[in-house]
């Protein structure tokens, strides 16, 4: 479509004229769409993206990166858009945003070259898990000579000594945290909005924990398969998110038990780490299963189809982390404990390895974008346009 290309070019030129890095094609597409949205504004009530947009008249690289991560891919503005395909303006905000969003993860990734891992992320995840599994299965074999053993009453350290586990997981985990932290810091610095007030931080925390922008602006939820609203995505995400957090808390509590109190695993079924892990684990089974189902039913024009392997890979990874953990718990007194432990640890290793280079990044980048918005909205609007009919 010639006029669209011309528009994209003009947007690029415009940015170049202001001596900013030129937008790539995906970013220019967001710029083109936002120029249409800015003249329309019908979707202002759905989420934070549109109010943030109206504070701008043109969209440079940093604006596009910020808005792409502020978008929650809820789909409302696709189904409500009078200019959505087949209209020649071909406005598809969630798709354009999703495409740029994935690129920001890889462009800001640290170390820089590792950003490539986001492309074909499904393969990355599969390889990491396979590698993790192989590692621990071989280790188990080397330690014991066989994958099965006489029941050990849940004595995990008889299979893998505690120090061995720490020496393997701690560096990987710390690296993941560092790499993600640097990536997000780079994203933040590209256009730092200034200092965060307490109110801005409180609002962001609220919006992150409640996933405010999956509620559609009216509380009836976001879109999935069609123009009907559903709270299912938000609820399954809550199960996933809080399930994950509880598992994380369980591991943290266990670490405390170990180092501070000197209480060694296995812990009783009624102990805090196991209860937290079990409850979280169940959430982390139902949540990802629901998200997977919704992902399969997602409207084809909604979001970036090329990212389905990354999304589904991450969903599967969470599901199997929980499943293998729960299986280990159930089987810890059996002769298969060593095998179950190796499998769980292998999957967990895959999760940790891919954490900074996969869908997991979305939570951090989105949270950062929400904080940018909470800061920015408290400042006077730089654009004071007159009114119309």
């Amino acid at each position: 479509m010639q006029s669209l290309e011309a528009l994209a070019r003009e947007a690029t030129d415009l940015a170049a004229g202001r001596n900013l890095p030129a937008l790539n094609a995906d970013e220019a597409e967001v710029g083109r769409i936002l120029q249409i949205c800015n003249a329309c504004r019908y979707c202002e009530g759905f989420c934070a993206v549109f109010p943030a947009m109206t504070r701008r008249l043109a969209f440079d690289k940093a604006d596009v990166h910020y808005l792409a991560n502020l978008c929650h891919n809820c789909g409302a503005c696709l189904h409500a858009c009078q200019y959505a395909p087949p209209h020649e303006f071909a406005v598809n905000v969630p798709q354009a945003m999703a495409t740029v969003r994935a690129r920001t993860y890889s462009d800001f990734a640290w170390p820089t070259g590792f950003g490539k891992l986001y492309r074909n992320n499904g393969v990355t995840v599969a390889l990491a898990v396979a590698g993790g599994l192989a590692l621990f299965l071989v280790l188990a074999l080397m330690v014991q000579g066989t994958l099965f053993h006489t029941p050990l009453a849940g004595d995990f350290y008889a299979i893998f000594p505690h120090n061995l586990l720490v020496s393997m997981f701690a560096p990987v985990f710390l690296f993941a945290a560092l790499a993600l932290g640097i990536g997000v810091a780079r994203f933040w610095r590209e256009a730092a909005p200034g200092a965060a007030s307490g109110a801005a931080i409180a609002e962001t925390t609220h919006d992150v924990l409640r996933l405010t922008y999956l509620d559609g602006g009216h509380g009836q939820g976001c879109n999935n398969a069609d123009d009907a609203f559903t709270l299912a995505r938000r609820r399954y995400h809550h199960l996933t998110f809080y399930g994950f957090m509880l598992c994380f808390a369980a591991t943290s509590v266990a670490t405390l038990y170990h180092y501070v109190f000197g209480w060694e695993a296995p812990y009783a079924f009624t102990s805090l780490p196991v209860v937290l892990g079990t409850v979280g684990g169940i959430g982390l089974l139902i949540g990802p299963a629901g998200l997977f189902w919704l992902n399969l039913k997602r409207h084809p024009e909604h979001g970036d189809a090329a990212q389905k392997p990354m999304d589904r890979g991450f969903i599967a990874l969470l599901f199997f982390t929980s499943l293998t953990g729960l299986a280990l718990l159930a089987g810890r007194d059996t002769s298969a404990m060593g095998l179950l432990l190796a499998v769980h640890l292998g999957v967990v290793m895959g999760l940790f390895l891919t954490m900074p280079y996969g869908k997991f990044a979305h939570g951090f980048y989105r949270s950062a974008a929400l904080l940018k918005w909470a800061i920015e909205k408290r400042r006077p609007n730089p654009v004071g346009v007159g009114s119309d009919g």
């Binding site: 003249a39 602006g217 123009d227 007159g386 119309d388």
Partner: protein, 474 residues
């Protein structure tokens, strides 16, 4: 009688926009079986309603998204003013009162409201905005209609109505005959019928057919087929057949469905010239919201039906950002070149205007004292010299919003033949808006009329179908 077998629907709705959907929902709620025929395919359903953003609502106290109050009398006076009295007070007041309570019903069927959009503060008191705009509203109504069991057929343009002494018998889609006990027509105006528009606007003194250069702001499916059919059937008509609501939009707008975003809102901040680089009207006559609707006609009267809105850097950020980037240049000559108008004439026009500007205290929020002196036509407010590069220019062409010709109705929304209301044929929305809005426009009143009379027509059609049935049994 063959037609009374259970396969015949009670109420047939023709059209698929706001008025049609309101009628369908009401008829279904009243227990009638309902079939809705939409000319457009599913992805283009909803007519002009899918381009709307709000409806005008009477209210005596602040109401969720509406601020302050907008009493019946004020609403009525506003209508009286914009129509210049070309309205029917009884029907108008009916719509006004209905607008004070129809929103609960709209919500029930899934419509969500939001406060006035940024840049539309002046409407926060009078107009309730649809969250996500008209397409979200239309989607919600279709969902609700489907859930309630309304049958919907897309790509079903009705081209003929079968009547018997003012009684509706059937509608024809191609060679398919669709009988029903009652019918509501809500198929919009004739704005996308290019031949009809051409005829309505006629030929100008330069031998041009101005309507050939118009864009249609809304759907391509409102071709006025039913209006024509009703004229031919001898129905009572209302509204000036040669008139349409016409605004100046970006000349690059698509032929159909450009919708709201193609408006150019910087006219009052600069000057407007025609293709000979001459000014032709006072750009600062009144606030833009009160004037934007006259500029379509003004541009339509210019040679080639084209105008150019010219601003300088001082106007940046003071108006709603336009959808297409304007021509931008550091000199007036270059801007003229880009716009394809005569450089010398353009520079002269701007020079004369600049020299005539009498700058006082610029304030876009009031009718300020910046004006021209000794210039014809004058610019009476917001007249600042165009002297700060970069200069920008936007080509304008007329965009048709809707037409005024409609069918005469009573408070039951019944179609009339020689002043006698039909017992089972009703009409709603743009097809009868001329009863209330014979002329002019004020934001949101189209949806108010469509919602009110759609609901009335649906309820009465259901009642008529019931009655028709009991007569048939008796």
């Amino acid at each position: 009688m063959k037609e009374m077998h259970p396969g015949t629907v009670d109420v047939l709705i023709i059209g698929g926009g706001n008025a049609a959907l309101c009628a369908a929902l009401m008829a279904r709620e009243a227990g009638a079986s309902v079939l809705l025929l939409e000319a457009a395919p599913r992805e283009w359903r909803g007519g002009n309603s899918s381009h709307t953003r709000n409806l005008r609502c009477m209210h005596d106290a602040p109401q969720d998204v509406l601020t302050e109050s907008y009493p019946e009398e004020e609403f009525w006076q506003d209508l009286l003013k914009v129509t210049g009295g070309v309205t029917n007070e009884k029907l108008a007041r009916l719509a006004i009162r209905e607008s004070s309570h129809c929103r609960d019903w709209m919500r029930k069927h899934g419509v969500n409201f939001q406060p006035s959009l940024s840049g539309t503060l002046h409407l926060s008191r009078t107009n309730a905005f649809f969250m996500g705009g008209g397409k979200a509203l239309v989607n919600a109504y279709y969902r609700s209609a489907e859930a309630l069991g309304v049958r919907i057929r897309y790509e079903a343009p009705v081209d003929r109505i079968e009547l018997e002494n003012g009684v509706f018998r059937a509608a024809w889609v191609g060679d398919e005959r669709i009988a029903a006990r009652a019918c509501v027509m809500a198929a919009g105006g004739f704005e996308s019928n290019r031949e009809w528009l051409r005829e309505a606007w006629g030929q100008n003194e330069n031998g041009e057919w101005p309507a050939d250069n118009f864009a249609i702001r809304g759907t391509r499916f409102n071709r006025g087929v039913l209006l024509k059919a009703m004229i031919d059937a001898g129905a009572d008509m209302i509204g000036d057949p040669s008139q349409s609501h016409c605004v100046a939009i970006d000349a690059r707008a698509p032929l159909y469905d450009g919708g709201i975003c193609t408006r150019i809102d910087c006219v009052s901040l600069g000057i407007v010239v025609n293709k000979h680089a001459a000014r032709f009207y006072d750009e600062g006559e009144d606030f833009w919201p009160k004037r934007y609707a006259i500029w379509g006609r003004l541009v339509a009267q210019q040679p080639g039906q084209i105008g150019f809105s010219i601003i300088d850097a001082k106007a940046n950020g003071r108006f709603m950002p336009p959808v297409f980037p304007g021509a931008t240049a550091d000199t007036l000559e270059e801007l003229a070149r880009q716009l394809g108008i005569d450089e010398a004439a353009f520079v002269r026009t701007v020079g004369e205007y600049n020299a005539a500007c009498h700058v006082g205290t610029f304030d876009h929020t009031v009718q300020d004292d910046c004006h021209t002196e000794g210039l014809s036509p004058a610019k009476t407010h917001w007249a600042l010299p165009i002297d700060t590069p970069p200069f920008r220019g936007y080509a304008l062409k007329p965009g048709i919003t809707f037409t005024y010709l409609g069918l005469k109705v009573n408070e039951q929304a019944a179609v009339h033949f020689s002043d006698v209301p039909s017992p089972n044929l009703f009409v709603a929305g743009e097809m009868m808006a001329g009863n209330v809005l014979g002329k002019g426009y004020t934001a949101g009143v189209g949806m108010t009329i469509g919602t009110t009379f759609g609901r009335i027509a649906g309820a009465h059609a259901a009642a008529a179908a019931r009655q028709g049935e009991s007569h048939a049994i008796a």
